[in-house]
């Protein structure tokens, strides 16, 4: 099983790569369309700014490559910004178009929730993930199948996704008054807002089960 981590020149790819190595995968980092299309599975990681990421993805001619790979039906994993990039658009520093593979938008976490209740952004820390009625069954056949409901995962973000089609929601998370989608499963696409590679031993299980 050959995994390619897409490098669009913005990220610390080390931890994602290492998580793949720990589960015994043959993994490399590449920005070359040919490598990506030939891979058995692809990861789109990401920390950083949405706009810069899209600029780099276009510059490296990766937009079509990512879409073509996803059409092949092989496993695709988006993490953090790599999840957000799959959406139609983002309101990060203005409005920007994303890859439009999953319909919906990327919103900023409000700095105030309720009457004058301050919320810290970026949101950095551990929080729990859980399913809803619709996603309960999807969960048990997904990369989360060995993860308990309400398990803690590590989050670090200022934006969150709002899918138009609620059926793609795999997991939810609540930060103060904001309940948002923290995991996506749509056909061969799996994506998480949190960082499984930074979520201790439970997180490593997710990498393992993503490919099993």
């Amino acid at each position: 099983m050959k995994i390619i981590i897409i490098d669009y020149k913005l990220n610390n790819l080390f931890s994602v790569k290492h998580a793949c190595e720990v589960i015994g995968a043959d993994v490399s980092i590449s920005s070359t369309p040919g490598d990506i299309l030939e891979a058995d599975a692809v990861i789109l990681p990401g920390v950083g700014a949405f706009k810069n990421a899209m600029v780099n993805i276009k510059k490296l001619h990766l937009e079509e490559t990512i879409k073509e790979f996803i059409k092949s039906g092989k496993p695709f994993l988006g993490i953090c910004l790599g999840m957000q990039l799959l959406f139609s658009n983002s309101e990060e520093f203005g409005s920007h178009n994303g890859l439009n593979i999953i319909k919906g938008s990327v919103k900023k976490i409000p700095k105030e929730m309720g009457e004058g209740v301050r919320v810290k952004v970026p949101y950095i820390g551990w929080n729990t993930i859980y399913s809803n009625k619709v996603s309960k069954n999807v969960w048990s056949n997904s990369a989360l199948k060995n993860i308990s409901e309400n398990e803690f995962m590590y989050f670090i973000h200022s934006y969150y996704v709002q899918p138009s089609d609620k059926n793609v929601v795999l997991s939810l998370t609540r930060y103060r008054d904001l309940e948002y989608c923290s995991g996506i499963k749509k056909d061969n696409i799996t994506a998480f807002q949190f960082h499984p590679e930074k979520s201790g031993k439970e997180g490593i299980k997710i990498y393992k089960d993503w490919l099993s």
């Binding site: 290492h18 950083g48 810290k120 970026p122 950095i124 929080n127 973000h157 103060r176 930074k198």
Partner: protein, 283 residues
Amino acid sequence: MDKVIRVIPKLEIKGPNLIKGIHLEGLRVLGDPQSFAKHYYEDGADELIYMDIVASLYNRNTLHGLVERTANEIFIPLTVSGGIRTVSDIQKALHSGADKVGLNTGAIRNPLIIKKAAQAFGSSTITVSIEVVRQTNGQYLAYTDNGREYTGVEVVSWAKRSENLGAGEILLTSIDKDGTGSGFDIELIREVSNAVNIPVIASGGAGKVEDIVDVIKETQADGIALASILHYGFFSKCRYTYTPSEGNIDFLRSDERFLLVKPLSIKKIKDYLVKLGITCRLR
């Protein structure tokens, strides 16, 4: 959930050694940083901080090898601090396996580095580390070069400015309290955590579990950086077997104990916090 308090071991490093001082001085060699890091990962740490304490002084940045080796065996976020001055320094740290970088001396000398770095790597990657000495008139001022250099920079306004420039988090250390085990500087941490809208990590002074409870209950801190209270626990198990390639081994080989803190494991600290209704990640 509402706030989940992060418990973050802070490992100060000089050369190949984990060290600890009092008020950032009188440094004692405690052991191999990587062994401590691994131990803390297994014990339930939520993140780790590596701080190269002489990097700014010697203009060097030597943690990369250690960061790389550590990132190979721990799967929690790692912040690397000390001697980071340029975008290229940040890039190197991230490439070695750091998830966040801490800027102190570099940022006070050149605040725009915060902005540049946040634009390049995202705010969430940039922690501004503020080391503080309370003046006799009660004013809090930031110091650089591991507490050696007076800057005259007032702490609350510096914290706000850091936030406006794009910092994603503040690591706030009281030099007066550091290593003393006499409790956090609650007033300092309250002032800064009320003034900014980004996470604040409280550091310096934890000597017993009640100190940790106090700072969580009385301030808006989001995380707690711990050193002596954790280090001296694991230290007692490995002090006689560690032989450093450089540095003073007198304290390691003596039977002297460090009496200013009551050493505790992370698990015990978290169990205690959870009993008091404070939310932590338990594993």
